[in-house]
């Protein structure tokens, strides 16, 4: 469990706003992320979770607000600073976004070679180690089109981990998966959390959230409208919007099963 009070945050998001297509998608969102902490973003579709995560590594540049990593602010207009910053902030996408023309091993090694300047052999060895860590040691030679959704997502996690990120952002990493493939990916993410990786994850996996989240952030209409420990927000009879929302999605899941 993260130590919330004595340390300064590893990453600080302060007053982020973002307009897209003439609409305010994020309205002054702030959060402090402490080392080893796992925050979970939940909330209705369109609430701004993906936009927030993409702002957090400047895939989208916020209109207002600041982002600090280890006390250092980034100037997104400086391409070099931006690339450097993004190396420290890993991103996992809902639809994997593996590089389709590269094998699993090459997907992991390409940035090691071309961004970190490792030799081909070094990068390959590191890629193998990362694939091994996500349980895909024997799949390195396969192309994305030859992998299942769960395997693709695990490759994308390996690809992000290989960069030695300080923070990982995960945008509904299991939402595009067939139900039977969800757990293999969650197992990997659980392993990361237990090893102390600092993470922000958008997800609707409530069991996972209850057991692993240090804090739940409920987002709606571009704002964090509730935040707290899963215990507090999800307690029976707590009357929170979070609980309300979660019981709705559980109903739907129950009805579907």
């Amino acid at each position: 469990m993260a130590n919330m009070n004595t340390k300064t945050p590893l990453m600080r998001v302060h007053g982020i706003s973002k307009e897209l297509g003439g609409r305010e998608i994020l309205r002054s969102v702030s959060l402090d992320l402490y080392e080893g902490e796992m925050k979970v973003l939940i909330g209705p579709s369109g609430g701004g979770k993906s936009t927030l995560l993409q702002c957090m590594n400047y895939l989208l540049v916020p209109d207002r607000g600041e982002i600090e990593l280890e006390g250092r602010r980034v100037d997104p207009r400086k391409a070099r600073e931006l690339c450097e910053f993004r190396q420290h902030v890993g991103m996992i996408f809902q639809d994997f976004n593996l590089f389709d023309h590269l094998t699993a091993t090459e997907n992991v090694s390409i940035a090691l070679r071309k961004v970190k300047g490792m030799s081909r052999a070094q990068a390959k060895a590191r890629a193998k180690a990362e694939l091994d860590r996500v349980g895909l040691a024997d799949k390195g030679h396969l192309y994305p089109a030859e992998l299942s959704g769960g395997q693709k997502q695990r490759v994308s996690i390996a690809r992000a981990l290989a960069m030695d990120p300080k923070v990982m952002l995960l945008d509904e990493p299991t939402s595009a998966l067939d139900p039977e493939l969800v757990s293999e990916v969650l197992t990997v993410i659980r392993g990361l959390a237990q090893n102390g990786m600092t993470m922000v994850m958008a997800t609707h996996q409530m069991g996972f959230t209850r057991s692993l989240a240090d804090e739940v952030l409920f987002m709606q209409e571009g704002r964090i409208i509730e935040q707290g420990s899963p215990k507090d927000l999800l307690a029976e009879g707590s009357g929170t919007r979070t609980l309300d929302f979660c019981s709705q999605i559980l109903d739907v899941e129950g009805a579907g099963a």
Binding site: L59, Q87, F96, N97, Y143, R159
Partner: protein, 222 residues
């Protein structure tokens, strides 16, 4: 009849030499078009608006003016004006290449736009600069997807290359015309030229299909 066969056989080596010149010009134009078309496509998709406008003007110009006019404009006009002393074949190659660059850029642009936006996002998220991401992630995929369009472009340039005849380049058409008008064997000579063009088109298309197969990514359906 006998005379026809004799003329054709006599003309064959001469016309085939012309075919070598045609193929050289076409292959040269394809590669020149590639080197022009790729940056044009990248500029049109990712460039600042000034870059997009400039690239757009280039494409608009070369698509909008007949090749015959371009050949004259460059060979007798601009190249002379610039003090360049290019042979007719070289001039035709350059003009065909510049024109093809405009068309090829549209092939590549379409391929780039057909890739998922997530490819670039994922590359950026790993700390790649946009230039690196385009070179190592976007273009390798886009160029693969462009091979069928490229094959089409090859057959068009091959046929357009016959226009180089008017500059006096001694390619297939020029040589055929020369023999035909000397021997009065117009029909057999032009039929032979047509067959030769057809065979060259076919060979190129087959070669490009082989290339497409060779660089195909396993399981990748687009």
């Amino acid at each position: 009849m006998n005379e026809t066969v004799t003329v054709l056989l006599d003309a064959l080596p001469y016309v085939l030499q012309g075919a070598a010149i045609t193929v050289t010009a076409v292959v040269g134009a394809m590669f020149l078009g590639l080197f022009i078309g790729v940056p044009l496509a990248v500029g049109q998709v990712y460039g600042h608006w000034t870059v997009r406008t400039l690239c757009g003007l280039y494409v608009w110009f070369f698509r909008g003016v007949p090749i015959l006019v371009l050949l004259f404009l460059f060979y007798f006009g601009l190249f002379n004006f610039m003090g360049l002393n290019l042979s007719a074949v070289a001039a035709a190659t350059v003009v065909l290449g510049m024109t093809s660059g405009a068309y090829q850029s549209q092939i590549f642009r379409g391929s780039i736009l057909s890739l998922s936006k997530g490819q670039l996002k994922a590359a950026r998220a790993l700390g790649m600069s946009d230039g690196l991401a385009i070179r190592s992630i976007i273009l390798p995929q886009a160029l693969r997807l462009s091979i069928p369009g490229w094959s089409n472009e090859y057959s068009i340039i091959l046929k357009d290359s016959a226009l180089a005849f008017v500059l006096g380049a001694s390619e297939i058409m020029a040589r055929t015309h020369f023999v035909a008008s000397r021997t009065y064997q117009h029909l057999p000579m032009y039929v032979s030229a047509a067959v030769l063009y057809f065979l060259l088109t076919w060979a190129g298309v087959v070669a490009l299909r082989a290339l497409e197969k060779r660089v195909r990514i396993k399981g990748y359906v687009h």
